[in-house]
Symmetry: C2
Subunit: 466 residues, 2 copies
């Protein structure tokens, strides 16, 4: 069979681009850096949104919607924040046929406008914590775009909360980070992530602490899958989010923000994809099983099996397009990552069998028609775990424990380096950056997230990244 995609080992970024095009996941938009998310990928995104949204609501946050347009002056109120974003802004100068008196920025994130409204809505400690989330598009002008990973416009959720104390803000940030983000990625996306703290150098503009979730891609690089920030009182001060305390004093609130985006679609492809295309964790797959009519004559048997699968709660599709070559349909299902194919052919049916083809390992197993539904559901269950285990094994295999910066830089050329942070330090970090290697995160020996980069005994992950 002719090769469908550039093999990963040959050129991983090219493989990624090929896969996105041939699996019909997305296209480049007409304005440089923007993307069109096609139905196949959007259906996956919808399932991510649904799961993430439920978890966010279970954590107590409510959804709201804030404007796309922000007065330029808002961004200037928090000095570090504007510095972080100004090279990335898209600016509207004309509206309604006229030049505007004040230029308007298309939101790169909504900290500032939400800060403004929190100040209006928060009066007393009884109004706290104020836990808001928003699903929206944001714009950050991108010089080196890559679909899903870095696009000038992307879709995301951004949580913004205000609290009465530092401790409450910190606890909520970590709750979101672990209970919402880490579990979503582990349990739905089947992606193992290292949870840690960003160094001061890598921290979000305006934050006092940034936490990250780092996944390993198929070529051994790191991908930041989501971040959560403690903003201290920086934004509260800039936007005057005050509250009267239990004892009647006027206090400044503590705020947080946290986000995940369509970048997770890129992470999904880069983590689970193989040389034949995408591989989707069954819980996330919009179509979990496709029943394929190999040749005409077995349509009834195929339809009956399809109906049994649907009745058993499997998200199944029937592919009876016999006027399209069987091989082409099989390649297409593999490209799109459908976890299980059930091939129904005349010879198999004559023997009372169908063929179960698993996307994860390409295995083809004859199964009696009566046992097909059970075999499909068992395969789906096994594959959800299997993809996670496979990704975890790869990460372990490609992570090298090292003791010196030089060793770390060498290891990070082809995988992750795990090293005592004390052996790197801020100077080593700057040096690593010169080789396009960064400190992805810091964590404690017990795996928990440190309160500062100055804690003793911290472990650092160094890697190249997307």
């Amino acid at each position: 069979m002719a090769r469908v995609l550039t093999p990963r080992a040959e050129d991983f970024p090219r493989w990624y681009q090929d896969l996105i095009a041939k699996a019909e996941l997305a296209d480049n938009g007409p304005v440089r850096g923007t993307m069109v998310i096609r139905p196949t990928a959007y259906a996956i995104w919808e399932r991510m949104v649904s799961d993430m949204d439920s978890r966010i609501k279970a954590a107590g946050a409510e959804n709201a919607y804030f404007p796309l347009f922000i007065p330029e002056s808002y961004l200037k109120r928090e000095a570090e924040h504007v510095e972080g974003f100004s090279p990335e802004l898209a600016v509207v100068t004309h509206g309604g046929g006229k030049q505007l008196a004040e230029p308007i920025v298309v939101r790169p994130t909504s900290e500032t406008v939400i800060g403004e409204f929190m100040a209006k809505w928060v009066d007393s400690y009884r109004d706290l914590p104020l836990l808001l989330n928003q699903w929206a598009n944001v714009v950050r002008w991108e010089m080196r775009p890559r679909i899903f990973l870095r696009t000038s416009e992307f879709l995301w959720q951004e949580g913004h909360t205000a609290h009465a104390s530092f401790e409450d803000a910190k606890a909520y940030t970590l709750k979101i980070h672990h209970e919402v983000y880490e579990r979503h990625m582990r349990d739905l996306l089947a992606i193992p992530v290292v949870v840690g703290r960003k160094t001061d150098r890598e921290r979000f503009a305006g934050a006092t602490s940034t936490y990250t979730l780092e996944a390993m891609t198929g070529d051994g690089k790191a991908l930041q899958m989501g971040t959560s920030h403690e903003l201290g009182q920086n934004f509260a001060r800039a936007f005057e989010i005050f509250f009267s305390s239990d004892s009647g004093t006027r206090e400044l609130a503590w705020t947080t923000s946290w986000g995940t985006s369509t970048r997770m679609l890129g992470g999904l492809i880069m983590c689970h994809g193989d040389d034949n295309g995408l591989r989707l964790p069954p819980l996330l797959a919009p179509t979990q099983a496709v029943v394929t009519v190999v040749k005409t004559g077995v349509e009834d048997a195929a339809r009956s099996l399809y109906e049994d699968l649907v009745a058993a709660g499997v998200r199944a599709k029937l592919d009876d397009r016999v006027d399209t070559a069987f091989g082409r349909r099989a390649v297409d299902a593999e490209l799109k990552g459908i976890p299980v194919r059930v091939e129904v052919g005349p010879r198999d049916i004559a023997a009372g069998n169908v063929t179960l083809v698993r996307r994860t390992d390409g295995s083809k197993t004859p199964v009696s028609i009566g046992e097909a539904v059970g075999a499909v559901t068992a395969a789906l269950e096994a594959d959800q775990k299997g993809l996670y285990e496979e990704a975890l094994s790869r990460r372990e295999a490609r992570t090298v424990d090292v003791a010196t910066l030089d060793e770390a830089l060498e290891a990070a050329a082809s995988g992750w380096a795990r090293i005592p942070w004390s052996a790197v330090g801020v100077e080593g970090e700057a040096l690593a950056n010169q080789s396009a290697i960064s400190v992805r995160c810091l964590y404690r020996p017990d795996g928990s997230v440190p309160a500062s980069q100055d804690e003793p005994d911290l472990i650092a992950i160094l890697a190249r990244s997307y």
Copy 2:
């Protein structure tokens, strides 16, 4: 009790504005014409989206996402379209710190960019119909903004489809209009709508037919709740959406588009609201029943009832904020339109009762605790129908059958005028427009939608509108 809102009869627009502020539904954004949708209103919008999205998917369309930014040149390709939108555009001239070579328009709608991609994706008649839908924000600069009804940015779904024939395009447009939009509004929003055709004068820029759904507001005006358009081959020609037919010829596709937006939230308020606030149809209400602890001492009984309601599938909340005055909490629940309040007070409980308060009519009924769950579910079912019936009765009462344009203009000063279209005509329409009265739609005597405004015996609805 002090009046909470300006009464509708005194100043309807002011009542609307008061309600939105006091029920904490939305705020004006910092950029003129934009809005902040607060959690109370956003939760209603989420339920609208969920219902509408299911119906759209059941009609066969798939969701996708197209870019916010559109090259200015795209809009110019379809002459009528650009003419319709140019005074409303927001234009980005700077990105990434530089002036852009070509100005970029923030999408006022996505016909043009979707047309561009349809041309890429459609090859043969086998690719048709191509049925796409998008949930997105769009921007149309608004000189006289009113929250939900006319805002510079709003949220909507926009469907865009391409078909092999005029007949198929027409049938699909009407399917969406009747089976998706009309049923969503009738069955979920409890809003009766008149379905008809827009006159040539009121038609969407670039369309060959525009269909509308018109609701009557509490002050007897009309509100366009959604529109569906046949675009003929106008956009297909401008964007070169060709396909090879069954017989091998090269043909131009027929396209449609259809949209509903956060404007429906405005329609909901204006249709069902009363002088005490919003009234929500139970199927749409995020909270269907609130169990209110009147005074401390009955918390256990209240919580037990609350749990029974949840177990019975009612979206219930427990309000045990006894440190806030009972009256204030009752006013707040009324403002927000929660369909049923179950008041649990010490005296009632001593008699084995609770008090059931219905938002639709303000009725207060003592109910024994054992029968409370059944009484609540019965009330919810009755209120969904009741709100629809009430709106329909008001519409009938405030619609006057007239025979001449003069009579129509008089009737439309305080309600709707129903008149033979032949008694109005294009000249009468222009005359009516001078009095801020418009032809809302045309329909046939049997209620169906005409294929052109030149059909005989058409009926016209004339009204003022929001």
